[in-house]
């Protein structure tokens, strides 16, 4: 049975392996150079406190390969579900060969177990190796990425660590399950893609934030969480503050789930419809703009004005998942996908064991 499964599968497995080997070699060759450039840059910038500039330059330079690799790791599980999972049984049903193979001296359960097992292991190995290689290669970039592209950011998280392996196993079994329910290859592939995409969107948006209770805290305003500050409109007496929704001070790389400006009494300041740069919210703060640090004439700059607003008692209130939770969250998410995979596999065995012909 293993021989037959391998014989039917070896073409696409070898092709995938070849692509992954090329990718692996490319990463292995360029990875050390990237790491040494990062180390040199840090050594350079640390004494004169210009590391933010270095990070921006360094990340900007490698942004395209960074995004491309992240995308490859995100797409790989979907491909496994689409091209290995969905046709696994439907191809046999469409060619009628299930009638041949199910009448050899091997039960359908064993047939499915070997097919699912072997294909699943290859898919998991491919996604796992690819995910870990990209995690290793991207390490210097992950450390210098803007908050929206950091390791904990919804999209990047799924392309790092061990989660891709779980996604691949799940996508494969999802494809097989849809296949045995729909029984035709093309509709099964389309449905698998739609279902997998929906689940991969729902996971970071609806589920992952609550896998561990998020931390809630209030932070002083400063360079990390204030992206800009401008006089509010033409009338004086208020400043417009652009509060970051993706960064909190003191927790670099944290995944910020919510960020609000609270006034000195602790009430959330409501926006007035104005908007700022991306990943910020615009909030109006009453403060003298004719005298004091926020008066444009004084020429003290944004830092002094931010400090003045801070002194008045305004704070950032945020809920977030700190970067230290990266691995706990990876394990929890892997466990969830493993359970889903087992449940779907059970459904497949039930469906193939009886009724399907």
């Amino acid at each position: 049975m293993i021989w037959l499964t391998w014989r039917q599968f070896r073409g696409s497995a070898v092709m995938t392996a070849a692509v992954l080997v090329v990718l692996g070699i490319t990463l292995a060759v360029t990875g050390p150079g990237l790491a040494s450039r990062y180390a040199a840059g840090i050594a350079d910038c640390a004494p004169n406190d210009t590391c933010t500039d270095f990070f921006d330059r360094f990340f900007g330079e490698y942004q395209i390969p960074f995004l491309a690799l992240t995308l490859v790791v995100l797409i790989l599980p979907a491909l496994a579900g689409l091209f290995w999972g969905a046709p696994l049984v439907t191809r046999e049903l469409e060619a009628g060969t299930h009638l041949l193979v199910w009448n050899q001296s091997v039960t359908r359960a064993r047939w499915l177990a070997v097919k699912l097992g072997l294909t699943g292991l290859v898919a998991m190995a491919a996604a796992g190796v690819c995910g870990l290689a990209v995690t290793w290669w991207s390490d210097p970039l992950d450390k210098s990425a803007v908050p929206e592209m950091a390791q904990m950011a919804p999209l990047v998280f799924g392309a790092r660590g061990i989660a891709p392996m779980a996604y691949a196993a799940f996508a494969l079994v999802l494809g097989v399950t849809v296949g045995v329910l729909v029984r035709r290859t093309l509709p099964a592939m389309a449905l698998t893609l739609a279902a997998f995409a929906a689940i991969q969107l729902a996971m970071p948006l609806l589920v992952r934030p609550h896998l561990m209770p998020p931390a809630t805290s209030t932070f002083e305003l400063g360079r990390t969480n204030v992206e800009g500050i401008v006089p509010h409109g033409r009338q004086g007496g208020a400043m417009q503050i652009f509060l970051s929704t993706s960064a909190v001070p003191g927790h670099a790389g944290a995944w910020v789930l919510s960020s609000d400006l609270v006034d000195p009494s602790g009430r959330v300041v409501v926006g007035d419809g104005a908007s700022g740069p991306s990943s910020t919210i615009a909030r109006s703060v009453p403060v003298s703009t004719t005298s004091g640090p926020c008066a444009p004439m004084r020429g003290l700059g944004a830092d002094a004005c931010t400090a003045e607003i801070n002194r008045l008692g305004y704070r950032q209130q945020a809920t977030y998942q700190p970067l230290e939770r990266f691995w706990p969250l990876q394990w929890i998410e892997t466990g969830i996908y493993a359970l889903l995979t087992l449940a779907l596999a059970w459904l497949c065995f039930r469906r193939v064991g009886r009724g399907l012909s």
């Binding site: 021989w3 037959l4 009638l99 199910w102 009448n103 050899q104 001296s105 039960t107 009886r354 012909s357």
Partner: protein, 296 residues
Amino acid sequence: MTAVLRAQALGKKYGRRWALRECTIDIPAGHIVGLVGPNGAGKSTLLKLACGQLEPTAGGIAVLGGRPGGTPAQLAKVGFVAQDTPVYASLTVAEHLRLGARLNPRWDDGMARERIARLGLVPAHRAGKLSGGQRAQLALTLGLAKRPDLLILDEPAAALDPLARHEFLQHLREAASEHKLSVVLSSHLVSDLEQVCDYLVVLVDSRVQIAGRTDHLLTTHHRLTGPRCDPGRLPADQYVVSARHTDRQSTFVVRAGAPTHDPAWTVSRVSLEDLVLAYMDQHTAEHRRVAQEVRG
């Protein structure tokens, strides 16, 4: 001797339509059984139930004394060659034999190779490139080399030209007698079955009409020809299978222990084909009557 196939009130429903119903048969071992009936009569359904591809909706079925398809041991005892004789298009002939060897404990590799060579199949050829006839032969080889006790074939000769069909059935008969194999094969062509079968099951409109050894069937069925009359006026022991009337004459195919001795009737033998057609005709006659009643 245990029955190769025993069914008790067996039924299979697809949605709301019964593909097979109230099927009760008991086929003894050691026969080549022909399953005959028009297209859509339920032949494939019965065969798929027998090899475990389908689960019955009603009743029960035992094949060689076991539940079909449940265990590796049961699967090893029953060979099945499906309609259209599916094979893996991307695998070569030799790889199909390897598949058989890997998946069947009783695999007879010598026999498989010998058969392939005798049929002129090239082991290195991909199965997808074979003609319909060659594919059927390859599928039959897989079924035979598995060394089952019962081989089930669903319309095995459908893709073959008349000569290939004749040879195929000839091989089948030889293999059956050589390996003490029971065979159940379906066809809608009586001529196919006449050549090889010594047991016949007639299936019409999802019901078994009659089952028995062919020689027994031929001695218990007769054609009666005589002046036109109503079937009800025939002797009570003559069960009418089909009736045809012209202006002056009536022809009946009847089932009876002994032919009637009434001199009004000319009694003649029926061929297997006549017999099968009579059972199919009986069914159509019933339908015709129903249609007329509805119209009236």
